[in-house]
């Protein structure tokens, strides 16, 4: 396999709220290799977006704070460098696209202005060169009539087009890593298919890494090389995509796969995971999934399992695969 591009080591990002401390990301470690698509899967509030925002160092503080750990990007700890250096990395080497293509574009600037901005900022191109490059980028993300689109305003474009523009902006400086935070959740299925196809194509052409955050297991299956499953601020399982879908280990991963209705595989009744996601404030020292887990044992309610190697390239944090449960 190729070299490691990003490595999260014991990352902890907490939010200090009125009601208490939210351990949004609690001791998260995993890595992203060059040219690989890593999907972070989990339900709302599991900390998947906060992990990405921590990598970009975009956590609003207060109330948020990265309280521990390291994020190594090509061997450099991003949490230790100066803000000015970070700014050079953001947009230049790591780019990010968001869920809402409506709100992440500035409504009073033309699309072209917004694509050219990082080009002029980071690559020292002249204005006319930047415009040429911008038109190229718009063509690359599959929008016809690029020379007209460049002068239009965001509100004149549809949701899918805006997401394409966002992708064009993020690609402007040839990033090594593209973070996509639920890039297709706000879009319709036919548009989603277009955007996913575009991302896959761009990743292949540019050999960049893709960190894709999603709650949709269908998207994961289509896009991912490697999958990281998060629950209540922790990584509970990770592994190559085929392994995760064929041989899920953690009861939560299994439950998620069973709970999702799949076209062409209709069941009379859906499997359900009982209960709710736990309140992120005041989580105990138990396995956070133990309240909902059908295999919960005494040890699960007493202490937290560590993320352990299980199989060639997979890891799982569950007492069933450790100690007395492993029988």
């Amino acid at each position: 396999m190729s070299s490691t591009l990003v490595e999260f080591r014991n990352l902890k990002t907490y939010f200090y709220t009125e009601a208490g401390v939210v351990q949004a990301v609690n001791d998260v470690s995993f890595s992203i290799r060059a040219g690989e698509t890593v999907c972070i899967v989990g339900e709302s509030g599991c900390g998947k977006s906060i992990t990405a925002m921590s990598l970009m160092r975009l956590i609003a503080s207060p109330p948020g704070k990265i309280v521990g750990g390291e994020i190594l990007f090509e061997g450099r700890d991003l949490l230790k460098i100066k803000e000015s250096e970070m700014r050079m990395i953001r947009g230049n080497e790591i780019a990010m696209i968001f869920q809402e293509p409506m709100t992440s574009l500035n409504p009073v600037l033309t699309v072209g202005d917004q694509i050219m901005e990082p080009l002029i900022e980071h690559t020292l191109l002249s204005k006319s060169e930047a415009r040429k490059k911008a038109i190229q980028l718009i063509e690359q993300v599959g929008i016809p009539r690029a020379d007209q689109i460049i002068d239009s305003y965001p509100h004149e474009l549809s949701g899918g087009m805006r997401q394409r523009i966002m992708i064009a902006i993020s690609l402007s400086c040839d990033p090594k890593l593209l973070i996509a935070d639920e890039p297709t959740t706000a879009l319709d299925v036919t548009i989603q298919a277009q955007i996913l196809d575009l991302l896959r194509q761009l990743k292949k052409d540019r050999n960049m890494s893709l960190m894709l955050i999603t709650h949709d297991l269908g998207v994961v299956a289509e896009m991912a090389d490697y999958v990281v499953v998060m629950y209540a601020g922790k990584v509970i399982e990770e592994g190559p995509v085929k392994e995760i879908f064929k041989n899920p280990r953690h009861p939560y991963t299994k439950g998620l796969l069973l709970a999702k209705p799949v076209i062409g595989q209709r069941k009379e009744r859906l499997f359900t995971i009982p209960g709710q996601v736990p309140n992120p404030i005041g989580l105990g020292e138990n396995c956070h999934y133990s309240d909902r887990c059908e295999h919960a044992m005494d040890i699960c309610r007493a202490s937290q399992p560590a993320l352990q190697k299980d199989g060639a390239d997979s890891k799982v944090a569950c007492w069933l695969y450790e100690g007395e449960g492993a029988k």
Binding site: S158, Q192, A193, A221, L270, F271
Partner: protein, 321 residues
């Protein structure tokens, strides 16, 4: 029990586009453009389509949350768009609606128990003394606890709020419920809970559902028949098994192929649709789908296809079928 409960005939709902100082009407958004279908008691009809195709507007016009522009909606044989307000109010409890957004569909300042019970009291279906008991019963059916009665909506998670929304509809003992994307805002694990709850309730109380959704996998799971909408019109309608096994309209085929399947070992032939959905204010001439259709012929650009029966209970509007 296969009697017809709902009959929609050529229903149209246009929203005027106003402009200028005098708010003159300069055009119409044809949100629902002549749709027709019938529903039998106890069945679930899935209404699918992409955003802006008019599926929610259709659902709301059918129970007269919006006034129709043209056409008829017969509920148990009575045209509900002709009813005087008093009669309509009396009929309201029988036709309920569950909203997509479990956050904005509950008043933040009203306790959950009261929110569920107030309509029963308001309609005089139950005395004030019995109301608490009745609400507790419904809470229990919907998988909520008695102590939830005195709580406020903001103390609940999305899934629990959706249960509250269902309880609020259920307590009125409706026959017909429009479910407007009831699980789209929920996480996968919670989504399955709500879908199972809806199935259970349907069996126990012989409910009829109009299930509006953009998620075809959920629709396949819960619906007995499916209607596909595009730009305000139904382009194809068939029983569930027929539609998913033998889709005829190119749009239905494309929709089905676009749904990502959670299995990395499957690679499918995918039909990519070109471009975006046209504006319903200015739909294309001829077949509305021809601008994105991969197989469009010359005829499709000029002639509107007729919505016709092509097989048993299988309707489609396409020249090429």
């Amino acid at each position: 029990m296969s009697d017809v409960i709902l009959e929609v005939k050529d229903l149209k709902k246009y929203f005027p586009i106003r402009s200028g100082v005098f708010q003159r009407t300069i055009g119409h958004v044809k949100a629902v453009d002549q749709i027709s279908f019938t529903m039998k008691r106890g069945e679930t009809l899935g209404l699918v389509g992409e955003s802006g195709c008019g599926k929610s507007t259709a659902g709301r016009t059918i129970i007269r949350l919006y006034d129709k522009t043209e056409g008829h909606v017969l509920y148990n044989g009575r045209d509900i768009h002709q009813l005087p307000p008093k009669e309509l109010r009396k009929l309201r409890p029988k036709m309920q609606y569950v909203f997509q957004d479990p956050f904005s569909s509950l008043n933040p300042r009203v306790k959950v128990g009261e929110a569920i019970g107030e309509a029963v009291v308001d309609h005089g279906l139950c005395s004030k003394a019995e109301i608490r008991e009745k609400v507790l019963e419904v809470l229990n059916i919907c998988g909520l606890a008695p102590y939830h009665y005195d709580r406020y909506p903001h103390e609940f998670s999305g899934g629990q709020r959706q249960r509250i929304g269902i309880a609020r509809a259920l307590i009125l003992q409706p026959d017909f419920i429009v479910l407007d994307e009831p699980v789209s805002a929920l996480d996968v694990s919670i989504q399955a809970q709500i879908i199972n709850l809806l199935s259970d309730l349907q069996q126990q109380q012989n409910l009829t559902y109009l299930f509006i959704s953009h998620d075809l996998s959920v629709v396949e799971h819960i619906c007995s028949s499916v209607a596909v909408m595009y730009l305000g019109s139904i382009v194809e309608m068939a029983s569930r098994d027929e539609l998913f096994k033998n889709p005829l309209h190119p749009y239905t085929k494309a929709l089905l192929s676009a749904v990502p399947i959670p299995d990395p070992t499957i690679t499918r032939e995918r039909i990519f649709l070109k471009g975006d959905i046209p504006s319903p204010a200015n739909p294309p001439q001829g077949c509305k789908f021809h601008t994105r259709c991969p197989v469009a012929a010359d005829r499709c650009r000029t002639e509107v296809p007729v919505y016709r029966e092509v097989g048993p209970e299988h309707h489609v509007a396409c020249h090429l079928v």
